[in-house]
Subunit: 549 residues, 2 copies
């Protein structure tokens, strides 16, 4: 039976227009990456599981797509299961022992405990608890065992075992968490940063540092799909590794500006913060462990107002004294310079906080000096993405005012990118572009140039093999001159077919049609029809080429 075709949820097919628009964005980004001196690398779609697992937290581990081993992938799990066979056999040992010796309530519990001790002497506590639980569920049945008929006896036996076995499988043999490494050793890339770190360490002897690389490739996440969130999507990353210079941060701000200006997307806001400032504030208010609670609360200032933010901070255990020290934060207003002054007043006792301010000022001064084309750099003390790994600057880009969309880019500095793979003291800083969201923004604002979806320029319609042959000669010459030209493969033999081919040209937005009939064949001319105006002219080939070029 034929299958009704579909694709996995969270994935997408892209048609020609979508591919063209996505390519336009990616090519624009790529061009700027190259002008800024970044070099492309590509890494495999799947990595060894140990390269990825444990790098994104428990939630990340869960969302990584694992690839089943090839061949007899259950081999190792079965080997592992010799132990289960022994335990199952021992389960029936306990079962027999109970049947043979029980006669009263006391004796049931004691017999159970004793026989578990005999058969599962050196085993996990978990299985002892499980056995105890299981047999106690069937206690009444066991006490009444002698009065059961043979079917009843069999039922108790199999019911008790099934109850035990299912729980057993869940914990031991078929535990989806514990057993994964036995049946899967590869996993699909979850982002481009960890593979980049792996690449840098693996190829460190072939790389000149500082290493500026870009990478535009798909990543996969087993996230619940929803509007704008997919299980397969592209990341566009640029990173530099091997230098601590703040000029890198300056260049990344410029790079964001360059890309969005090239995409005609004017007015984006590049928000910047610094992890050291957040650490400084937490230090000053004595809440080093409440960095995230504090920023989450502060982030709501615009929405819920000063009093409610303070309430939330109190509820998270931030002291009254600490909150008082934060007072200047609540009135943080004005331009970069003014905000920095307020921050200084809070952080004057924190060395790390002042270092953060110094870094921010350096970047802001440089950017003021260099001038951005269409974007704006904005300090946002509530910006707290990537606190697990960012150690310095934190970036996030918002679409222009009036466009409802989450961030369309983000990044930051991480002081120890490659340490997980054994290469210490490699500071890195990088940014990422959100392709899918940028696509939606450009679509909403009508910023895709019309030219990018222009496909075939001219369709040749013909009326028989001889005419088609003459057409194909012309088509070939047009193609050699870079004109996107097509020959409709089947010859027109009726008015209905003629209409079908015209409709075909129309639906595919092909602007010109050429008709080569007997007359044109003899006169060596081409009847060129402009589809929109309906205008039709007869031309020799040279003029045809000139018109279509």
């Amino acid at each position: 039976m034929a299958q009704k075709p579909s694709i996995p949820k969270g994935t997408r097919d892209f048609n020609a227009a979508e591919v063209a628009k996505r390519s336009y964005i990616m090519e624009t980004i790529k061009e700027q990456f190259q002008v800024y001196g970044f070099q492309p690398i590509e890494t495999p779609s799947f990595e060894n599981s140990e390269t990825l697992m444990g790098k994104y937290g428990d939630e990340g581990d869960r969302l990584i797509f694992k690839i089943l081993n090839s061949g007899d992938y259950f081999k190792d799990l079965r080997k592992n299961d010799v132990k289960i066979a022994l335990r199952v056999s021992n389960f029936f040992g306990v079962y027999d022992k109970i049947l043979r010796s029980l006669d009263d309530d006391l004796s049931f519990s004691e017999t159970l405990r004793e026989s578990i001790d005999v058969y599962f002497k050196n085993d996990d506590d978990y299985i002892k608890v499980l056995l105890n639980k299981t047999f106690n569920i069937f206690k009444e049945d066991f006490l009444n065992f002698k009065n059961l008929n043979s079917v009843g006896k069999e039922t108790v036996k199999s019911d008790a075992f099934i109850a035990f076995y299912n729980e057993y499988l869940k914990e031991y043999s078929m535990n989806s968490y514990k057993s994964t490494t036995l049946i899967s050793e590869k996993a699909l890339r979850y982002d481009l940063t960890v593979p980049f770190a792996r690449y840098v360490v693996q190829h460190q002897n072939e790389i000149e540092f500082p290493f500026k690389r870009y990478q535009i490739q798909p990543v996969w996440r087993a996230d619940r799909p929803q509007k704008g969130r997919f299980r397969e999507f592209y990341q566009c990353d640029a990173d530099v590794v091997g230098s601590k210079s703040l000029f890198q941060e300056v260049e990344f701000v410029q790079l964001y500006d360059a890309v969005f200006s090239a995409l005609q997307l004017e007015g984006v806001i590049i928000k910047i913060n610094n992890r050291k400032i957040l650490s400084g504030i937490a230090e000053v208010i004595g809440a080093q462990d409440k960095l995230i609670d504090f920023t989450v609360a502060l982030d709501k200032l615009d929405k819920i107002g000063e009093e409610k933010v303070k309430e939330e901070m109190r509820s998270k255990g931030i002291s009254e004294e600490g909150i008082a020290k934060l007072q200047p934060l609540f009135t943080l207003k004005g331009d970069f310079g003014n905000q920095v002054e307020s921050l200084k007043s809070i952080l004057n006792a924190s060395e790390i906080g002042l270092k953060g301010i110094e870094e921010l000022e350096f970047i802001n001064t440089a950017i003021s000096n260099l001038e951005l084309k269409t974007a704006t750099l904005q300090l946002d003390v509530t910006l707290a993405r990537g606190l697990n790994y960012y150690t310095g600057a934190i970036f996030e880009v918002s679409a222009p005012d009036g466009v409802k969309m989450g961030s369309i880019g983000g990044g930051g500095r991480y002081d120890d990118l490659t340490g997980i793979f054994g290469l210490k003291n490699m500071s890195g800083v990088g940014i990422s572009f959100g392709l899918d969201r940028i696509y939606l923004v450009l679509e909403e604002l009508g910023l895709f140039p019309d030219t990018i979806t222009e496909a075939t320029k001219v369709l040749f319609i013909s009326f028989g093999d001889e005419e088609a042959m003459a057409s194909l000669k012309a088509v070939s010459k047009l193609r050699e001159n870079g004109v996107k030209a097509e020959l409709y493969p089947d010859a027109v033999t009726s008015g209905k077919q003629m209409k079908k081919q015209m409709t075909y040209a129309n639906r595919r937005n092909i602007p010109y049609v050429v008709l080569v009939g007997e007359e044109e064949l003899n006169a060596k001319t081409f009847a060129l029809k402009h589809m929109e105006s309906g205008e039709q002219t007869k031309l020799p080939f040279n003029e045809l080429l000139e018109t279509l070029k």
Copy 2:
């Protein structure tokens, strides 16, 4: 502990030069695809397993990478295993029954048979055989059971169960072949043709037919990696679906010629054959079922000579009479026309064979008429790729004489591409380019243009924040003018560091270096050094830009 980083076997990292070279090939192919009127589509990296499984034969199914379900993927397999729990319980039923009633040899076999009948009445034959086998292995132990001590008794019990259980797991619960669908419902794309067929059927109402699409995306195969064979590699396909016109075949021959000419790879040989000719020959010699044996043998003609080929045909069961009819094949020589005449003499009694010849002649005549730029079209009756699905033309492209390399492209016509997904009567024809092999050929012949690996044009070296700031201003203006420019992020503070930065420029093949020191800063000039000649000049910005543009 830090992991020693590596990637899965059969996969590759690509560095900047490799990415650039691969892009060059893909962009060249893409450009010609577009000029020929093909439209790009993209499909997801993974498809639902039922879309892929069963489409590539058993071997193909085995080589498809399966993705483990997310979350508690063992859930369904555990559910499936309630049955195993019952069977295990019943195993011990049989065990008890035997112990209770056996006393002599006859009684052991009978008791075993009877108790299996009782406990496994409606079960598979396989499990009955397995039980019989298992208990018989332990027969001596059972017959001697009363004489065993308690440890011995337990050992018999658990040994018998373990023997049974392992075999059981292999066949039922943890059978890597049968259980895959319970833990995996998605799989990585194995080629681009099946996803294309799925796409056409799924989107048939949005598509204008004939539909000319191209697709350049990676595919994955769990093949044993070896030289030139990878587990992740790109396919570059162009197909037309929805027309039977032979002009399509003609255009594909032109397209191959156009792409390889654009790549400066002159002299490739486009081999063509037709499935109908092979069917015709098989018909004529009365060996319709020996199509592959026959072509495999014929293919060896050049290597082993006429007599040995005939010997092989005989050994495969092709009749003496049939072989005699093939005589003209053994002397098949000369140009397309001569070969076709020989074929006609063999196939004059086969309707399908003559149809195949007619198709071949049509294509050859058109191509002679249109003329190829650098490639040659060659008839090859031994060409037999894709016999499972090709129904008309068969293509294969060889690298120019003197380059040792398998085929660098291939394709053909398939009359029922989309039938598997329920859309009947859609004839398709398509070709594919072998990216990795084309890469190796271009590398071997030195055909990659030097320009494609040109990265950064100029590196600015500076001596402090103030100089760096002035440099970055110049760098920014150069970038705005499309010049790939970089600022070395860290300032030179010693001769050693100066040397380090010069080495950096050298190793990265950056042709120019600009030095901005105090003197240049004051004079508003730039010291430009050409790395190869060592020549150094001082220029104002405008002249710098002119030189580097």
